[in-house]
Every structure is written in structure tokens, then in C-alpha cells.
């Protein structure tokens, strides 16, 4: 298959299967991008999410652009991005045009209560997997826990958290190197 077509279709599929924001796309990306196609590693995916959270825009789009650019440069980035948004535009347009009270239909309400319960578990599993390549020693364990608490309990903005974590990483690693040299 043409690589651009494959990029488009893979990300369109990820778009369709995502319920509730870019984080919910992670399990699908791990499966399709990392395991099946080896377009990126788990580590790189963590990097993309970190950058996606402190750069402007929708996280799912940022990640799609990243993978696309890595594979096929700027055209690849654009194709992957168009892929990930394509299903949304189609589905939302249909719903907006024909189903005025879609979000209040009992079937939809019940189905989404079930889907949300499932998405919790899928994100939990995805985090466990991501932890293997990102939480590797004591300092990273501390960063992981601190980030979780700051964000989950105190609602600190992801952009700030990511910025601090980057600086902490720089200080720990470079200070360690400096000490070794001496």
C-alpha cells in the first residue's frame, strides 16, 4: 500500500476509535504505530505526548503530525493530521445536521457510561506500558508521582508541569555528568 495512504488510513482509524480526547488515543497508537507498524517506539510516543502537552493545539493532532513528519517529512505530517481529523468532521457533520438531541438520547447516554468505564481501564493499561520505558529509576519515579499529584489533585497546567520536569531532568542528568567528570 502507498505509504501516504497507509498513514492517512491508520490515523483515520485511530480517530474513529478515540473516545474522549487525545489521551484515549494512546492505547490505539501503541497497538497500531508501535506494535504493528514499528513507526515509532514507546519512548518516542511518550516524547510526542510530552511535547504535545506543552505546545499549542489538540494533543491527538500534535501526535499525528509528529509520527507523520518522522516517517515522511512535512507531507507525511499533513497527511497523518488530515487522517486523524477526517472521521470527526464527517461524524460530527452528520450528527449536527440530523440529530439535534443526540447527546440526550437514552441509548447514547447509557452506551457512553459504559464506554467511559472502559476508557479508564484502557488508559490505565496504556500508562502501565508507557511506564516501562519512561519510569526507569528513582528520579523518574519521583517525577512521575509528582506530576500525577500536581495534575490530578491540584489541577496544575500540563504546560507548567512539563516545563518543570524538563528542567529537573536537565539538572539531574547534567549534574550527575559533572560529578563523574570530576
Amino acid at each position: 500500500m502507498n505509504i501516504y495512504l497507509e498513514l492517512f488510513l491508520t490515523f483515520a482509524q485511530a480517530g474513529v476509535c478515540t473516545f474522549g480526547g487525545g489521551y484515549a488515543m494512546l492505547p490505539i497508537l501503541q497497538r497500531e504505530i508501535v506494535n504493528k507498524r514499528s513507526w515509532a517506539t514507546d519512548e518516542e510516543l511518550a516524547d510526542y505526548y510530552a511535547i504535545g502537552q506543552c505546545t499549542p493545539g489538540v494533543i491527538a493532532v500534535n501526535t499525528a503530525t509528529f509520527v507523520g513528519v518522522k516517517l515522511k517529512g512535512v507531507p507525511g505530517g499533513i497527511v497523518a493530521t488530515l487522517g486523524v481529523v477526517f472521521p470527526s468532521v464527517v461524524i460530527i457533520t452528520i450528527i449536527a445536521a440530523f440529530l439535534q438531541n443526540f447527546a440526550h438520547l437514552p441509548v447514547v447516554v447509557h452506551a457512553f457510561a459504559g464506554i467511559r468505564a472502559c476508557v479508564c481501564v484502557l488508559i490505565f493499561n496504556a500508562v502501565l506500558k508507557l511506564k516501562k520505558s519512561s519510569v526507569i529509576d528513582l528520579p523518574t519515579t519521583v517525577i512521575f508521582l509528582a506530576t500525577f499529584l500536581l495534575s490530578a489533585l491540584w489541577g496544575v497546567s500540563p504546560a507548567i508541569v512539563v516545563l518543570i520536569a524538563g528542567i529537573v531532568g536537565l539538572v539531574i542528568k547534567r549534574a550527575g555528568k559533572g560529578a563523574q567528570k570530576r
Binding site: 480517530g15 478515540t18 473516545f19 474522549g20 480526547g21 492505547p27 497497538r31 511518550a46 516524547d47 505526548y49 510530552a50 502537552q53 499549542p56 493545539g57 489538540v58 494533543i59 493532532v61 500534535n62 503530525t65 509528529f66 505530517g77 499533513i78 481529523v85 472521521p87 470527526s88 468532521v89 461524524i91 460530527i92 457533520t93 450528527i95 449536527a96 443526540f102 447527546a103 447509557h110 452506551a111 457510561a113 459504559g114 464506554i115 467511559r116 468505564a117 472502559c118 481501564v121 484502557l122 488508559i123 520505558s133 519512561s134 523518574t140 512521575f144 509528582a146 506530576t147 500525577f148 495534575s151 490530578a152 504546560a159 512539563v162 520536569a165 524538563g166 531532568g169 542528568k173 547534567r174
Partner: protein, 193 residues
């Protein structure tokens, strides 16, 4: 034509300034509604509900919905393109930078700190989904005071545990996540979650 240009520009701005995902776009959309009169806050609430209950990234769903409300199918496409343009440009620049400096020890040190933070943030996002789906707010009136209690929805909790157990079974591990999502949707309807 002017309307579509304006639409593109408004959503470009939203995409440029909303940092941190779909939910971050909401304050900007509220602002657009108030300044342009394109939609009311009540309509926006409905759009958020629909965006949350349809597949696809929330920020994109919101842009498509608002765009469609204002200018039909072209509006839907234009608003979406507007909201993604800043992301694409910024990420292309960042990717170019990374390609050049990936091996740089300073950049590597930064990523050493970023990766666990990224994982922690995703865990926090997962936690917020847990709060929304497994804990239901129950409103009650006590005299003149409106009280809110958090109720654990046991049915949802059971379903989540069932899914957790199933996804750990070696033979089922490789299944596409959409299988679990589909089954959970059916369970939600059947058991009236």
C-alpha cells in the same frame, strides 16, 4: 466568503492559544460565542456534550460542530483546518529541531525528565475519566442549600473491573481496543448504566 475567512481565523487563534488538549479550547470557544454572537453558551454546552459522546479528539469535534452550526459543511471543514494549522506548523518546527539535536546530551537530559512527566499527566487524565465515569455527582436540596454528594456507580465500577480482567487474559490481550469499547457500550445499554 468573509464568514469562512473569519471562521478560519477565529479557530486558528483557538488552536494557537489552547495549550493542553481539547478541554483547553472551551474557554476560547466561549469567548468566540460572546464576541461574535455565532452561538449561545447553552448551545455550546450541547456541543460539548456531543463532542464528548462521539468518536474523535474532543478539540476537533468541537471545531467541526461549531463550524457546522455557523456555516454548514464548508464551515465544519474550515473551522477544523483552522484549529489544526498552528499545531501542524509548531510540530513540524519542533520535529525539525529534534531531528537535528536528538543526540545532544542536553536534549536527552531534558527528555529524561519529560518522559515520566508525560506518563504522569496521562495517568492524571485517566484519573479524571475515573472520576467522571465511576463517581456520579448526586444533587440534593437541604433547605436553601444545594448539596452535592459523590456516589460510586457500582455498575460502572464492575464493568471497569470486568474489562480490566479481560484485557489481562493472554489470549485476549492482542484485541483492538475498539472491541472493548464496543462491548462496553453494549453493556452500558443492556444494563442501563
Amino acid at each position: 466568503m468573509m464568514l469562512l475567512l473569519r471562521l478560519y481565523f477565529e479557530f486558528f487563534r483557538t488552536g494557537l492559544f489552547a495549550v493542553g488538549g481539547g478541554l483547553a479550547t472551551i474557554p476560547f470557544l466561549t469567548d468566540i460565542g460572546q464576541r461574535t454572537g455565532w452561538f449561545t453558551s447553552a448551545e455550546l454546552t450541547n456541543m460539548i456534550a456531543v463532542s464528548e459522546s462521539t468518536p474523535g479528539p474532543m478539540g476537533i469535534n468541537m471545531a467541526s460542530y461549531v463550524g457546522f452550526t455557523i456555516a454548514g459543511i464548508p464551515g465544519s471543514a474550515i473551522a477544523t483546518l483552522g484549529v489544526i494549522t498552528p499545531s501542524v506548523i509548531v510540530i513540524i518546527l519542533v520535529a525539525a529541531f529534534l531531528k537535528k539535536f536528538r543526540e545532544n546530551p542536553y536534549v536527552e537530559a531534558v527528555f529524561y525528565g519529560l518522559r515520566p512527566a508525560s506518563t504522569g499527566l496521562i495517568a492524571a487524565a485517566g484519573w479524571s475519566v475515573v472520576c467522571i465515569s465511576l463517581l456520579t455527582p448526586v444533587w440534593s436540596l437541604n433547605g436553601d442549600n444545594l448539596l452535592v454528594n459523590l456516589d460510586i456507580s457500582w455498575k460502572c465500577l464492575l464493568l471497569a473491573l470486568a474489562v480490566l480482567v479481560c484485557t489481562k487474559v493472554p489470549r485476549l490481550k492482542g484485541l483492538h481496543p475498539i472491541v472493548w469499547i464496543g462491548l462496553s457500550a453494549v453493556a452500558g445499554v443492556v444494563f442501563g448504566l
